[in-house]
């Protein structure tokens, strides 16, 4: 043992001695009591399902003016928390303007067939004529949230809805975006527009107990959408249809469905099952109806 070690041992013993002395004044009685608290988060989980054998995605090519596409989509709540809204938006569009492959293409100079146009012009050819909320039926349902007379197109929905990339990411000026929002608010049933994001809520809201997609009572919502490739008989000076320029064009559209939670609530005994599970979180409006 080196001198340093010895010194430390000495010092240690001294400290031990001191602590033994002061130890005498310490309290020797104490009492320990326990209380437990536990928390566990629920899950918010929306699943999109087919209605019957029909797909809910749109994968259609070789369209011509006058064609229409009808799709149904089923919203299923696979979580443990009630879903308040299903906010929908065209999140992103990848556009390909059709051009002749090379000069040998037989119609290479037939410009009226594949003249240039941008994504917004193309999307504006597609009228969203029906958005049927609660297509599964029931009291007050289904509701068509777009009136027959409305002329709302995919362009309007694309420009109106706030996306994660921000307004500036869109190929449009702020005026055009504001215009689309105005159109949306003036045509679509306002109960189904989310004011903050300008997105459409595809879940039913009118029957309190069934608002959104609650788990209790169990609910499934079906949304039906009809999109029409509008028929426009406007002609160019040479007699060709203006719409010819859209031939061969393609848009890959990403539509997002965002399920939201109900607002936080004060938990009281009435909200709880015996085991502490917050039952009212399975209900629309937190069960306050």
């Amino acid at each position: 043992m080196g001198f340093k070690r010895k010194l430390t041992t000495g010092a240690l013993s001294a400290i031990l001695g001191i602590s033994l002395i002061t130890g005498g004044t310490w309290a020797a009685f104490n009492d320990i009591e326990n209380a437990d608290a536990s928390v566990e988060a629920g899950t918010l989980n929306l699943d999109l399902k087919k209605v019957g054998k029909q797909p809910y995605t749109i994968e259609v090519s070789n369209l011509k003016p006058g064609d229409s596409i009808e799709r149904k989509i089923k919203f299923v709540n696979s979580g443990t928390l009630a879903i308040k809204e299903v906010l929908m938006a065209i999140e992103d569009v990848q556009f390909t303007d059709y051009t002749p492959r090379d000069d040998d293409d037989p119609g290479a100079n037939d410009l009226d067939t594949w003249n240039e146009n941008d994504v917004l012009e193309f999307l504006d050819q597609f009228k969203v004529s029906v958005i049927l909320v609660g297509a599964e039926g029931g009291t007050n349902y289904p509701v068509n949230i777009i009136p027959e007379s409305a002329e709302v197109t995919l362009k309007d929905f694309y420009l109106a809805s706030g996306t994660v990339y921000g307004d500036s990411s869109k190929p449009a000026s702020q005026e055009e975006i504001d215009e689309a929002r105005m159109k949306l608010w003036n045509t679509v049933d306002r109960r189904y527009i989310d004011a903050e994001s300008n997105r459409i809520n595809g879940a039913s809201v009118q029957n309190v107990k069934y608002a959104g997609i609650p788990l209790d009572p169990s609910d499934v919502d079906i949304l039906e959408v009809k999109i029409e490739f509008m028929d426009n008989d406007e002609r160019n000076p040479d007699g060709s249809f203006v719409q010819n320029k859209f031939q061969g064009d393609r848009a890959d559209i990403t539509i997002s469905f965002e399920a939201t939670q109900w607002d936080g609530q004060e938990i009281t005994d009435e909200d709880l099952r015996d085991d502490g599970y917050i039952e009212s979180n399975e209900k629309a409006h937190n069960g306050d109806y």
């Binding site: 004044t25 309290a27 020797a28 009685f29 104490n30 009492d31 320990i32 009591e33 326990n34 209380a35 437990d36 608290a37 536990s38 928390v39 566990e40 988060a41 629920g42 899950t43 918010l44 989980n45 979580g79 443990t80 928390l81 999140e91 994660v164 990339y165 997002s256 965002e258 939670q261 109900w262 607002d263 936080g264 609530q265 004060e266 938990i267 009281t268 709880l272 085991d275 502490g276 599970y277 917050i278 039952e279 979180n281 399975e282």
Partner: protein, 206 residues
């Protein structure tokens, strides 16, 4: 009186006589005094009610609950201080494949989603559950060492409000909220209260 009884009485008397004779050789004066003393330890007994404050599952951000903890001195000794220590048990990271970072998070991250407000007549505290779980020997009383916080028979309440905080931060370039990573996660918080005795003192008789 039967013969048998008479006989035993005779023997007894004889024995008594013998002791008297023997006693004669002992010291004859003495004085015996007794004092009655007692020392009895007191009891230090804190009662915390209820033992299960809450046992919540299926919570969502924004939900909150308020409960009251009652501390009672059920013993005979004054309680000097009540010290809180916390253990957290039962947490496990739940992963979510659809989230950009797989929904990975630490226990500390999870506990930071909860805010706890402790309040009583004389005491207020504002913590995240993570901060609370890191406290050691946290004083639930304000009187300080050597001044009784709770006399025998007395009690006081602490109101505890716990809220699952709502945070609208989204993942970059995504509509998904970052808080989604906490879905399905849970933990048990064990609150451990220690009541201490007053310092020793020189005592007079009762």
């Amino acid at each position: 009186m039967s013969f048998k009884k008479k006989m035993s009485l005779g023997i007894l008397t004889g024995a008594l006589g013998l002791t008297l004779i023997g006693g004669g050789t002992w010291a004859a004066f003495n004085d015996v005094e007794t004092t009655n003393n007692y020392i009895a330890a007191g009891t230090l007994d804190l009662v915390v009610n209820p033992e299960t404050l809450f046992d919540l599952s299926n919570m969502k951000p924004g939900d909150y609950i308020t409960k009251t903890l009652t501390f009672t001195n059920n013993g005979s000794l004054a309680i000097d201080e009540i010290l809180l220590n916390i253990d957290v048990e039962g947490w496990e990271d739940v992963l979510h494949g659809h989230l950009p970072d797989n929904g990975e998070n630490t226990l500390e991250d999870f506990l930071n989603q909860f805010q706890v407000v402790l309040s009583s007549d004389v005491y207020d505290g504002f913590y995240s559950l993570a901060e609370l779980s890191n406290l050691s020997d946290h004083k639930m009383t304000v009187e300080g060492e050597g001044v009784a916080a709770l006399l025998p028979g007395e009690s006081f309440d602490v109101t505890i409000t716990l809220q699952f905080l709502e945070d609208d931060t989204r993942y970059p370039n995504s509509r998904l909220y970052e808080q989604n990573k906490y879905q399905g996660e849970g933990a048990t918080i064990k609150l451990n209260f220690e009541a201490t005795q007053m310092p020793g003192e020189e005592r007079e008789n009762d």
